[in-house]
């Protein structure tokens, strides 16, 4: 067992998406301005808010360089006045169309892909909400432009409530460790699952799993009069907890047993965050998380940092630092 805290913190510094990333803010603001300038006179008034990992402080730099910004648009309308939610989504799409590389109405948002000359690729997902409803709840506009009617609807949603509970489960330095562990998990996930398709657990699924299962791991250091955090132990414990949350079911279609997991969103609509994955995909997630758990167990048994780091690089990629061991430490003692 070696102390890997410095390595984990260095790793975290490399992977984290800064809460106050100016470039991302600039991109978002440019699009918000375009939206404001070009939105049709027919459209209702709206306000915007940050949502997603950026708002929860759990964002990581994307491996493929495709930055993702989630913005919520709260329109001052009642869902009952707009039975077709696509009407509202179109206000957004039409305002931004032509000004960027592409604008596309997707199931849960309007996605704007944005790439300035010689710069990284960004996409901004605008989630569209009806904010002025008789039950005082927010409803998100679901459905694509040419979806069938049953796939176009307003769905109850509480993005601000979600941000609030995730952000406030922990405070101070404990909260920082929570966020770091979520980021480690996301980094691991992006390193081990292909970015396309639904085989990977979503960022929000990993975040909510951590909300549910993560425990702070720290020790009070009487000599330094401070709390020393142990990210490795926190991560290891969390991964084991996730692994233990899986259960076995018989899949009659595939004719085999699968390990599956479900995790309910802690706010409305309380949906299962793994609902879009097939049993087989979830089982794939189980296999990968089990591998991770055994690798972390192996790391725990190492007495040399270099060997521990080698295993962690396999888990997280080369952004995890490699360290050289030293057989002695300096001392200030003499007699």
């Amino acid at each position: 067992m070696v102390n890997l805290q410095k390595e984990f913190l260095d790793f975290h510094d490399k992977i984290k998406l800064e809460d106050e990333n100016q470039t991302l803010r600039d991109k978002r603001d440019i699009l918000l301005k375009k939206l404001k300038d070009n939105i049709s006179d027919q459209a209702a008034s709206y306000t915007h808010f940050n949502q997603g990992s950026y708002a929860m402080g759990t964002g990581i730099n994307p491996e493929d360089g495709d930055y993702d910004i989630d913005v919520g648009l709260k329109f001052d309308i009642s869902k009952d006045d707009y039975p077709d939610p696509i009407t509202v989504k179109k206000w957004v799409r039409d305002a931004l169309n032509g000004h960027t590389k592409s604008v596309e109405i997707r199931r849960s948002c309007v996605t704007v892909t944005y790439q300035a000359e010689g710069e990284a690729l960004y996409h901004v997902d605008f989630a569209v909400y009806a904010a002025n409803n008789s039950d005082d709840k927010l409803y998100i506009a679901k459905g694509k432009e040419f979806s069938s009617t049953e796939n176009k609807f307003w769905d109850v949603s509480d993005p601000l409530g979600l941000i609030d509970i995730i952000k406030n489960k922990f405070t101070g330095d404990d909260r920082m460790q929570f966020r770091r562990v979520v980021r480690y998990m996301k980094k691991w996930s992006s390193h081990h699952f292909t970015s396309n398709g639904s085989s990977a657990p979503t960022g929000i699924a990993l975040t909510v799993l951590a909300y549910d299962l993560f425990n702070v791991s720290s020790v009070k250091d009487w000599a330094a009069d401070k709390t020393t955090y142990d990210d490795f132990a926190a991560l290891h414990e969390f991964v084991n907890a996730v692994k233990n949350k899986f259960g076995l079911i018989w899949d009659s279609n595939d004719g085999c047993f699968y390990h599956i997991i479900s995790q309910e969103l802690p706010v409305e609509p309380y949906n299962n965050l793994f609902e879009k994955m097939t049993n087989k995909q979830i089982d794939g997630f189980y296999k990968k998380i089990s591998d991770m758990a055994s690798k972390l167990e192996e790391v725990k048994g190492k007495n040399k940092k270099s060997e521990a780091c080698k295993l962690l690089i396999e888990l997280f990629g080369t952004e995890f630092p490699a360290t050289v061991d030293k057989s002695y430490v300096g001392t200030s003692e003499s007699a």
Partner: protein, 582 residues
């Protein structure tokens, strides 16, 4: 001068007026006054007061002219010992009150009735001083281990002006050679009888005694079994008698010793009892026995049987060993493979004289300590290879001690000792101590008292089992403090003699507290000095220093420093690449 005289006359008038006495100036003697005073036992004495020039800084002297009996606190010249000047604060702005208080004190002393309990107590307290005044001879005694009704036939050996009486000749000879630095020349020239009296009884104090008078006093104050032995001595037929007779007088505050020299030379053999012409003279005694000297030094004689191993006899070790011996510990084994050189002297207990000898530190400390403290027994463990590493190859060498101190300043070896003590279940308390650089402080750590923590806990990382520098260090880790002005072998860490003594002090206190069973928990004691020099030299302090010094804590004690990751006391299984079996 007339001013002083006038003032003194005024003081005398105050005494006369307030105490109804009549002191008058003695003609021809400056500041001396005399009066006849009636005492409570209806006797009358002639009392003189002499005011010194430095009055009121010095009290006036009171003296009885021609005393008719022995008084407690009165010397052979009649001078009254009023008070121990050094133990009081004099209100010098009130000279009249001082004069009256001194007169009252003198009267109080003179009115102590002979035979009263108070008289006995006061006599006993001042006994050695009175006896020394009466004596023209002196002997050194080292009499130990005697029973309440002891009757001992001892030998005094002589060398030059020294006569030493011990329970055994060998120890007298050791004292003469090691501590008086002379060789015994007359082995059995004077034999000696020592008798402990039945109860507190003091013969009348005078310069010359009659043999019969002393004999009868002794026979009246000893038990019947002692009487039998003493009588058989009295019945012995001799031509010459040349003997010391030591009386040990029981006293609540510790036995008192007094001696007489009996001398008689006859033409024919005659019984000792019949030697009418036997000269009997007071002999004063200088006690140099262990118990007396240790208790006089404020220490406990209960530590005499404790045996301590001290590893490292550098600056801290040297002071610790000296402190231990001063505190009454007699058996110390010292391990050190260094030579004591001139560059050591300004932060070591030993100095230039010892450095001149160019000898091993442990050997030189042994010689020095045995010469300073007569009853210590130092083993300088002069193996061929005196290195700590070699020493530790046999774990059994750590056994048989009451406590082990490491003043090596080498954490690797300290941790190895810690490991061996745990692995071999050797339950001997272990104290390790060291300085930190530039006078910022030092530490003494005791472990192996309880098993819930150990030294390694303090060198184990909090979230792994990695070895880290001392966690309660006062300086930030990873800095190099070694200075090198005379080659690699001369590299040293800057700190001074005071820093070392401070660390030695807290360490010795810790050792003594453990031996006296005042400590039941492993603990670290740290002293914090100033960070000024350290910072000036471009180094950084550690949070442990900052927090405590901000809270104005300069001696910090920490218990319960157990670390769950510790590989030694946590007894975790680890991959041992280089397995050591001792």
């Amino acid at each position: 001068m007339s001013m002083i005289e006038n003032k003194i006359d005024k003081l005398i008038r105050t005494i006369n007026d307030n105490r109804n006495v009549c002191f008058e100036k003695i003609t021809g003697q400056q500041e001396s006054y005399q009066a006849d005073i009636s005492m409570s036992d209806n006797t009358e004495i002639c009392l003189q007061i002499v005011f010194p020039e430095q009055f009121p800084l010095i009290f006036p002297t009171f003296k009885i002219v021609n005393p008719q009996r022995f008084y407690a606190h009165v010397d052979s010249e009649g001078v009254i010992c009023l008070l121990d000047d050094t133990a009081i604060l004099k209100k010098t702005e009130l000279p009249e009150l001082i004069a009256i208080d001194c007169f009252d004190k003198a009267m109080e002393i003179l009115n102590i009735l002979p035979g009263s309990e108070e008289y006995k107590r006061e006599i006993a307290r001042e006994f050695n001083a009175y006896w020394a005044q009466l004596s023209s001879e002196c002997i050194y005694t080292n009499i130990e281990c005697y029973s309440n009704n002891a009757y001992m036939e001892l030998q005094a050996i002589e060398a030059g002006k020294y006569r030493i009486v011990s329970n055994d000749l060998n120890s007298s000879e050791c004292l003469l050679q090691n501590n008086f630095h002379c060789k015994a020349d007359k082995y059995e020239s004077v034999s000696c009888i020592a008798i402990r009296l039945r109860s507190f009884e003091v013969p009348p104090l005078k310069k010359v005694y009659k043999w019969k008078e002393l004999r009868q006093f002794i026979l009246g104050t000893i038990t019947s079994s002692q009487k039998g032995k003493f009588k058989s001595f009295l019945n012995r037929k001799m031509k010459v008698i040349n003997r010391y007779l030591i009386l040990i007088i029981p006293f609540s505050e510790g036995d008192i010793q007094m001696a007489f020299h009996l001398y008689c030379k006859n033409g024919n053999y005659s019984k000792v009892e019949k030697m009418v012409s036997c000269e009997v003279k007071p002999v004063s005694i200088v006690r140099i026995d262990y118990k007396f000297m240790v208790e006089r030094g404020g220490s406990s004689n209960k530590l005499s049987n404790k045996k301590i191993l001290v590893l490292g006899c550098g600056s801290i070790g040297g002071y610790i060993i000296n402190n231990l011996c001063q505190s009454g510990i007699n058996q110390v084994d010292i391990l050190d493979d260094d030579i004591f050189t001139f560059e050591n002297i300004h932060r070591h207990l030993l100095g230039f004289d010892e450095a001149r000898l160019h000898k091993n530190k442990a050997d030189i400390m042994k010689e020095w300590l045995e010469s300073q403290y007569p009853y210590v027994d130092i083993d300088s463990l002069n193996f061929k290879d005196r290195s700590a590493e070699k020493f530790l190859m046999d774990a059994n060498r750590l056994r048989g001690y009451d406590l082990i101190v490491s003043a090596l300043g080498e954490p690797t070896i300290n941790l190895e000792i810690d490991r061996i003590l745990h692995a071999k279940s050797i339950s001997i308390p272990f104290v390790s101590c060291f300085n930190e650089p530039y006078g910022i402080g030092g530490h003494a750590i005791c472990s192996n008292i309880t098993q819930n923590s150990c030294l390694r806990c303090l060198y184990t990382d909090l979230i792994s089992n990695e070895l880290v520098p001392f966690r309660a260090s006062l300086v930030k880790g990873g800095q190099n403090f070694k200075r090198n002005i005379s080659g690699c072998t001369g590299a040293f860490v800057p700190y001074n003699a005071l820093d070392t003594q401070q660390t030695a002090l807290i360490s010795t206190k810790l050792v003594l507290d453990i031996l006296c069973e005042k400590i039941s928990e492993n603990k670290i004691i740290s002293w914090l000095g100033s960070s000024e020099e350290l910072v000036k030299n471009g180094f950084e302090t550690a949070p442990y220093f900052k927090t405590n010094s901000e809270n104005e804590k300069y001696i910090v004690e920490k218990e319960q420093f157990g670390n769950r990751n510790c590989l030694v006391c946590g007894r975790r299984e680890v991959e041992v690449l280089f397995k050591r079996e001792y």
